[in-house]
């Protein structure tokens, strides 16, 4: 009995001193002989884990779990799998959402094809690191060595930060990337390449080059706020390229959109928009082969400055001139979404209000009260407008004058006199 207790105590001490990653399998699969393999770098303390599994059960699919008995860093996770079915999958779940320890970082995940004569299993990946209390790092943020997280499909990556390349194979979607810190760094962008769709990416700031072969639904940067709490920071920098941007939220950033955005085809759906809280500095190019009804909103928050320095091209049409306006102006900064509001503050002369006598008068009148003075007026919509009654030659406007103030409230407005004949249409579409 005493011998047995000593053995158990020794085993517990040995286990505690040798804290390590642990791989386990759900039903329907077995490890190949000699796997899993665990190798710890004696200099860095980081772990390399190799997994090779075979599906044995009823078709199709099984789970592989990676946990840890203490705080560990996974420097490299190498996985391969095969089975009797040509369309099966293995779902690798890295479970490290315990703030007291477990896996704090996953620096790379590499898929290895099982080789000739074997049916490879598609790798579906879920990594749930501690995104609040721990380091929860995806990629190698210490020595700067580029790392790759690759899989056929990504179900979810949840962490504190990403400093790596995220890649899915042809046709493989990225379902969710939920980062409670930043993706990439200002001087070192992350890359996210989806062989299919991207459903949802969100982080405080996104410094990344993002590419989806097919559709992007939602990419969000919430800064110091959240999905529902407004903030004035949060940046998306780098680039976003995709075929379509349909059926999701589109791009939403509380702060600046510095990234260049290219949507090769259409952008449709009842909520698919580009909302930019502050500055639009990136260039936006949206194709036109599909039917779309959405638009871009710059500076939609009351606190936004709404500067617009990037080039916007929609359907091959560059939207000019660029505006510099705020949410308080009529139109709200909507770009490319009908019906266009009139951007009064950007008109020439600018519309400045209607409360007498604080108007900024259009003309500094120094002539006789009877002298007529010519004026050119440019009304800006930031969208394509056209005269529906061309070529009849009729004007798409009427002009009236009245004496004194344009009344607001209870004052009595003077008689309106039609002087449309004294005004000429110079152009409709040239000066949007």
């Amino acid at each position: 009995m005493k011998w047995k207790l000593s053995f158990i105590a020794l085993a517990i001490i040995s286990y505690a001193a040798h804290a390590n990653p642990v791989v386990s399998l759900g039903s329907g699969a077995v490890f190949k002989a000699g796997f899993p393999k665990y190798d710890q770098d004696t200099a860095t303390g980081k772990w390399t884990v190799e997994i090779d599994v075979t599906e044995t059960g009823t078709c199709c699919g099984f789970f592989v779990f990676l946990d840890a008995t203490s705080t560990v860093v996974i420097e490299e996770l190498i996985i391969t799998g095969s089975g009797p079915y040509t369309t099966s999958w293995m779902h690798l779940v890295v479970r490290a959402d315990n703030p007291s320890g477990s896996i704090t970082s996953v620096e790379s995940v590499n898929y290895i094809d099982p080789g000739f004569g074997l049916n490879p299993l598609d790798l579906v990946l879920t990594i749930d690191l501690d995104d609040v209390g721990g380091t929860g790092r995806i990629g190698n943020g210490v020595d700067g060595t580029p790392t790759t997280i690759e899989a056929h499909r990504i179900n979810r990556i949840k962490a504190r930060s990403i400093e790596a390349s995220i890649v899915t194979f042809a046709g493989g979607d990225i379902n969710e990337i939920d980062i409670n810190g930043d993706i990439g760094k200002t001087a070192s962008h992350a890359t996210i390449n989806s062989g299919g769709d991207i459903i949802d990416i969100k982080a405080k700031n996104i410094y990344a080059d993002i590419d989806a072969v097919d559709n992007v639904e939602s990419i969000r940067a919430f800064g110091s706020g959240s999905d529902t709490v407004e903030a004035t920071d949060g940046v998306i920098d780098g680039s976003i390229d995709c075929d379509t941007m349909n059926n999701g939220l589109g791009i939403r950033v509380w702060g600046d959109l510095d990234a260049d955005v290219t949507v090769a085809d259409e952008m449709v759906g009842t909520t698919a928009r580009m909302f930019v809280g502050r500055e639009l500095a990136g260039n936006v190019d949206i194709g036109a082969s599909g039917v779309g009804v959405r638009g871009i909103t710059i500076g939609w928050m009351p606190s936004a400055t709404g500067g617009w320095s990037g080039d916007i091209s929609v359907g091959g049409v560059a939207l000019t001139p660029k505006g510099d306006y705020t949410q308080t102006g009529l139109g709200g900064g909507a770009v490319g979404l009908v019906p266009y509001g009139l951007h009064k503050q950007d008109c020439v002369p600018a519309y400045v209000g209607s409360t007498w006598p604080t108007e900024d008068y259009v003309l500094d009148c120094t002539k006789s009260p009877l002298d007529e003075q010519p004026v050119s007026v440019t009304l800006r919509h930031y969208g394509v407008v056209e005269n529906s009654i061309v070529p009849s030659g009729e004007k798409p406007f009427e002009v009236f004058w009245s004496t004194g103030n344009h009344c607001v409230g209870t004052c009595i407005h003077g008689t309106l006199n039609d002087v449309t004949d004294d005004w000429d249409l110079v152009s409709v579409s040239d000066a949007r």
């Binding site: 259409e266 952008m267 949206i286 194709g287 036109a288 082969s289 599909g290 779309g292 009804v293 638009g295 929609v314 939207l319 979404l337 009908v338 019906p339 509001g341 009139l342 009064k344 008109c347 519309y351 108007e359 008068y361 259009v362 003309l363 500094d364 009148c365 002539k367 006789s368 009260p369 002298d371 007529e372 003075q373 010519p374 004026v375 050119s376 007026v377 009304l379 969208g383 394509v384 407008v385 005269n387 529906s388 009729e394 004007k395 798409p396 406007f397 002009v399 009236f400 004058w401 009245s402 004194g404 344009h406 309106l416 002087v419 004294d422 005004w423 000429d424 249409l425 110079v426 409709v428």
Partner: protein, 47 residues
Amino acid sequence: MKLDGLLLPNRHYHIVVDETLRCVNVFGSTVVETKPYTYILYCSPCP
């Protein structure tokens, strides 16, 4: 849209744009909507 006209002092002007000015959806579709509005101009009083 750009237009030229004449202003007289001590008056204000309404430029009324109706449905004849159409907004064309630039996202590749043929969707067209209209949005009437009135733009107000002032000519300052003479000294």
